[in-house]
């Protein structure tokens, strides 16, 4: 019990950077991201995989990083909120839309929600309000009542659409 149990090497890419790290078997991916890699934008809001604050993109899919062990991410490509926008100040179009439409208040759920929006719009560039709400079901927000989050995603979809056009 004083030992942390087995330690394994994991090799994975996070935000385009390759990492090769020894991790205890029981370390959750979210703790690996936050504590081992020091990326603090991914948050923890619950203990049971319900709130979505820990959402990241793994091999193109939105996952809850608290529901995966770091060892389970061996060989994977992870994108966290830090991968969006250029440099320290740039906002990507989805983030701009959230800023314009007041899609965030305390900001704690925001990284998970923005990544959710990113994967949604990649898969469904013109979602209806019902589809947006359906996609957001796994991300809890206590501040906004979701109305402006939906508006922000609709605006981001429109902006993306007009760029393509």
């Amino acid at each position: 019990m004083a030992t942390e149990g087995a330690v394994h090497m994991v090799d994975l890419k996070v935000n385009g950077v390759a990492h090769s790290v020894a991790v205890p078997a029981r370390r959750l991916l979210v703790h690996f991201i936050r504590e081992t890699l020091g990326l603090r934008g991914t948050h923890i809001g619950c203990d049971t995989g319900n709130c979505g604050a820990c959402s990241v993109i793994c091999d193109g899919q939105l996952i809850k990083s608290c529901m995966m062990l770091a060892v389970g991410a061996d060989g994977c490509e992870i994108e966290t909120i830090e991968s969006l926008g250029e440099g320290a100040d740039g906002l990507d179009p989805i983030q701009e839309a959230f800023r314009e439409h007041h899609g965030l208040q305390c900001g704690y759920c925001t990284p998970g929600i923005v990544l959710n929006a990113k994967t949604l719009l990649a898969e469904n560039p013109h979602p209806t309000e019902a589809e947006i709400r359906r996609a957001l079901k796994g991300n809890i927000c206590r501040c906004t009542g979701y109305v402006n989050i939906v508006r922000s995603i609709e605006a981001a979809a429109e902006a993306q659409g007009s760029v393509r056009a």
């Binding site: 019990m1 004083a2 942390e4 205890p24 029981r26 370390r27 936050r34 990326l39 603090r40 934008g41 991914t42 948050h43 923890i44 809001g45 619950c46 203990d47 049971t48 319900n50 709130c51 604050a53 966290t80 909120i81 830090e82 969006l84 926008g85 320290a88 906002l91 983030q95 959230f98 800023r99 314009e100 007041h102 965030l104 208040q105 305390c106 900001g107 704690y108 759920c109 925001t110 990284p111 923005v114 309000e129 947006i132 709400r133 359906r134 957001l136 079901k137 796994g138 991300n139 809890i140 927000c141 206590r142 501040c143 906004t144 009542g145 979701y146 109305v147 402006n148 989050i149 939906v150």
Partner: protein, 828 residues
């Protein structure tokens, strides 16, 4: 007057500024957003201190038990474990926390961990500090606690009966407070009314706003300086300081508090001072910084819950024309196992004694009780939600029983627009409002006529449509003197907030405030009003993010709570900005060789109104005062510091303890909501078809931010009305202490919210704004109202603020069952 530190402090009220307008009132995008969107926010779990250890609390699985022994040696023997702390030690290391209740409840001995006895499931009994969070948890499993389980009491009313187990022996009973609020003459009214409507029982349930970020802190008791640093997400840090200091024998000057970004507070992060105290003691014992992040189950079971209130024997005198004269009620508020911020809740509701109505005769016999449940805290809408819900239930039930139209009955009984400022039966003054107009708007937004038609058309389809209305108030900017109504010995009164607006060495406009925002956009709105007063863009105004006792300014009430920032926080910012403006103009006039009346400020320059080319940038003003001061005449140099502190003080006096009367809050924002719901007759499932929220909060500083608060408050209210409730079993076990079982409302649960607004500037505030943000819990009334409207004739009244499918199912069937309906009408 200036202080040796070079800061000029002013006090008092602020005249309504004519300067607001260029930026105030506009939906300026938020300064906070860039960092939050990019994951660059600094929340407490993101912080780190050299040599820190991680804390895990061992918690009681019993709701009520004597603690016989705690054996920590096996845990302490584990390599990497730095220290442990038990309740027994805590009993020696701290004085019990100051209690606001009068005796006997004031004799309660409340510590940061259970001492001798655990009184609710999840109460901390010991703590472990170790090199990692996982190790702390592993080591905690090696701590052996021997308990002697005791009888559990969870019923908030049965708890005051003689046979109930007493939680705090030193009090002798489970009554925390009792008082009777008696205004007008309700006995006369009941005797002379044309009808008396009697309602047996209404119940407001226990839930919480559950901020997404749980409680956390990084605490370091520095042995060298003797200063304890609290980096925490507590949202009322100076209140916390006032409780922690005497408990651990530390002066306020030896405590530092800071936070930058807080992931939601909603009142639940006010009473975390108990945990901060435990962390401080552990840090001192271990000689290390200690870091703690509360898990979600700990937050749900052991941080704070909203007040649960039961109303019995409600009697409502009504005249034939529908005028409701008032009501009488016995109210029981279940505070859980400890008081903490309570029993303030026993008086806070009286800010809105008659709700939105002109009721004159009201008696509330109010008892606050203790049970083996999580202690309550000032959850969003603190204590007013419960009372306002009662009033709306009364209005709806009276309408239904006596055959009045709910809309017409409200319009008849509302405080009318021409009656403002309106004095309520206990001396509170509603500043402004227009409830009938708001009701009209709400009904239009849900297409009231259309909904009625759909309701009729849906008869027999297996789905029942109902339309609901809820009117509430959000009273803002408290007079803390109301605490004396529950305990005349309490040394609190008035209110205030502090701000500093200054120029930095190169003329940079900097604002610091005593508030601790959790998403309300203070950096942005403070920049807006400062920009208006100093005549520049908000981009030139730097508002220091977050709360910092050493770097920012503060008063005893500092923090972010109770729907007041637009008035108290911005009042302070405006006052400071005005004074700074005066100083800049003074120096600029001297440097330009002009009269002060010739000077204007624009775009960060001081210039001659008649000749804008003659201009000095703020850097020039600052550089002169800070580094080139010999160039100024002596008298001028002595009278300016460019560092202006202002304490906004609303005009309150101390309320009357005997008559329980006084001006308890400065502003009264209002809300009228309407909803169309559909009940499934087979399952009891409730679906919201349409929802509208009309809000009135005086002059809005940033309309988008205001609308966001309305959405959020509505989301919380809908969540509570249909999905969120804390379920305790008779063993005092919280059956839903995870987000898997406590259903926090999701994007599929909260519908689109149509919003409307009416603007009635407050005559009492510096900017015509009213505090808002908490909302009045209108969704709770609105949905209860809509469900009741959908029920078949003969059904039981909607008696609870929480109506899940099971409860609605029972209500649907109560009509056919033809049993008691919970209401009786006696007519002359």
């Amino acid at each position: 007057m200036s202080t040796p530190s070079g800061e000029t402090t002013y006090y008092g009220e602020v005249e309504q500024s004519e300067r607001l307008g260029a930026w105030s009132g506009k939906s300026v995008p938020r300064k906070e957003d860039k960092r939050l969107l990019k994951g660059q926010g600094a929340f407490v779990d993101d912080l780190w201190m050299h040599r820190q250890g991680h804390v895990h609390f061992v918690r009681s699985p019993h709701a009520h038990a004597r603690i016989i022994s705690i054996e920590v040696s096996r845990a302490e023997a584990v390599p990497g474990v730095y220290a442990t702390l038990t309740g027994e030690e805590v009993g020696e290391l701290q004085q019990p926390f100051f209690q606001m209740a009068p005796e006997p409840a004031g004799l309660m001995r409340d510590y940061c961990m259970a001492v001798g006895k655990a009184r609710y499931m999840g109460e901390p009994v010991a703590a472990v500090l170790a090199e990692s969070a996982e190790l702390a948890r592993d080591a905690a499993a090696l701590i052996e606690v021997v308990y002697e389980p005791l009888e559990v009491i969870v019923d908030g009313i049965a708890t005051i009966e003689r046979q109930a187990p007493v939680l705090h022996e030193e009090i002798g009973s489970n009554v925390a407070w009792h008082g009777v609020y008696d205004y007008g003459d309700v006995d006369w009214a009941l005797e002379h009314a044309d009808h008396v409507v009697r309602i047996d029982r209404l119940h407001f349930h226990r839930f919480s706003s559950t901020p997404l970020e749980t409680t956390g802190a990084l605490v370091n008791w520095d042995p060298g300086t003797g200063v304890v640093e609290f980096r925490s997400n507590n949202q009322m840090p100076m209140f916390a300081a006032m409780f922690i200091g005497p408990a651990i024998g530390l002066g306020i000057d030896h405590m530092q508090f800071s936070s930058q970004d807080i992931g939601g507070g909603f009142g639940i992060k006010i009473t975390s001072y108990t945990y901060l105290t435990a962390l401080a003691l552990l840090s001192r014992k271990a000689g290390r910084p200690v870091k703690w992040s509360e898990s979600r189950w700990e937050h749900l079971a052991a941080s704070a819950h909203g007040n649960e209130r039961t109303f019995l024997d409600i009697e409502v005198p009504v005249m034939s024309d529908g005028t409701i004269l008032g009501f009488k009620v016995r109210a029981f508020d279940d505070a859980g196992a400890y008081l903490r911020y309570e029993p303030l809740g026993a008086v806070i509701w009286s800010q809105v004694v008659p709700g939105n109505y002109r009721f004159k005769h009201i008696r509330v016999d109010y008892t606050e009780t203790l049970t083996n449940k999580c202690p309550v805290g000032p959850n969003r809408g603190y204590s007013r939600l419960q009372h306002l819900w009662l009033i709306e239930r009364i209005v709806d039930i009276v309408a239904k029983e006596l055959g009045f139209d709910r809309v017409a009955l409200r319009k008849l009984n509302y405080v009318q627009p021409e009656e403002f400022p309106y004095e309520t039966p206990n001396g509170c003054v509603y500043d402004s409002g227009d409830y009938p107009a708001m009701l009209e708007q709400a009904l239009e937004l849900i297409d009231y006529e259309g909904a009625r038609a759909r309701q009729l058309a849906g008869a027999g389809s297996g789905k029942r449509i109902g339309i609901g209305i809820g009117s509430t108030l959000d009273s803002g900017t408290n007079n803390f003197g109301q605490s004396r109504i529950i305990n005349s010995a309490l040394p609190f009164s008035g209110n205030g907030e502090a701000a500093v607006v200054r120029l930095d060495l190169y003329g940079e406009i900097t604002v610091t405030i005593g508030t601790s925002p959790q998403g309300q956009g203070h950096e942005t709105t403070a920049a807006q009003v400062t920009a208006d007063i100093l005549g520049c863009s908000p981009d030139l105004v730097h508002v220091v993010a977050g709360y910092n006792k050493a770097a920012n300014t503060y008063v005893g009430f500092s923090g972010t709570y109770a729907s007041q920032f637009a008035v108290t926080g911005l009042g302070a910012v405006m006052g400071a900005a005005e004074r700074l403006r005066g100083e800049i103009v003074k120096v600029g006039a001297c440097m330009l060789g002009a009269e002060e009346s010739d000077i204007e400020l624009a775009d960060g320059f001081v210039r001659l109104a008649a000749n804008p080319e003659a201009a000095i940038p703020f850097i020039g003003i600052a550089a002169t005062v800070f580094a080139n001061v010999a160039e100024l005449p002596g008298e001028l140099a002595d009278s300016v510091t460019l560092n202006c502190r202002y304490v906004y003080r609303p005009p309150f006096t101390v309320p009357d303890h005997e008559t329980k009367r006084g001006k308890l809050t400065l502003t009264y924002a209002s809300q009228v909501h309407a909803a169309v719901v559909e009940l499934d007759e087979e399952t009891g499932q409730v679906t919201i078809l349409d929802y509208a929220a009309v809000d009135e909060c005086g002059r809005k500083v940033n309309p988008k931010i205001v609308e966001g608060q309305v959405h959020g408050a509505t989301g919380h209210g809908i969540g509570a009305a249909l999905y969120e409730t804390f379920e305790y079993d008779s063993d005092g076990q919280l059956l839903n202490s995870t987000f898997g079982d406590y259903h926090a409302a999701t994007s599929l649960d909260v519908p689109h919210i149509a919003t409307g607004e009416v603007e009635c500037p407050s005559p009492f505030t510096p900017n015509g704004a009213k505090g808002m943000g908490e909302g009045g819990g209108a969704p709770l009334s609105t949905i209860a109202s809509a469900i009741e409207d959908a029920l078949p004739p003969g059904a039981h009244v909607v008696y609870d603020s929480h109506n899940n499918a099971e409860r609605v199912y029972e209500l649907l069937r109560s009509a056919a069952a033809a049993g008691p309906r919970g209401v009786e009408v006696i007519s002359r």
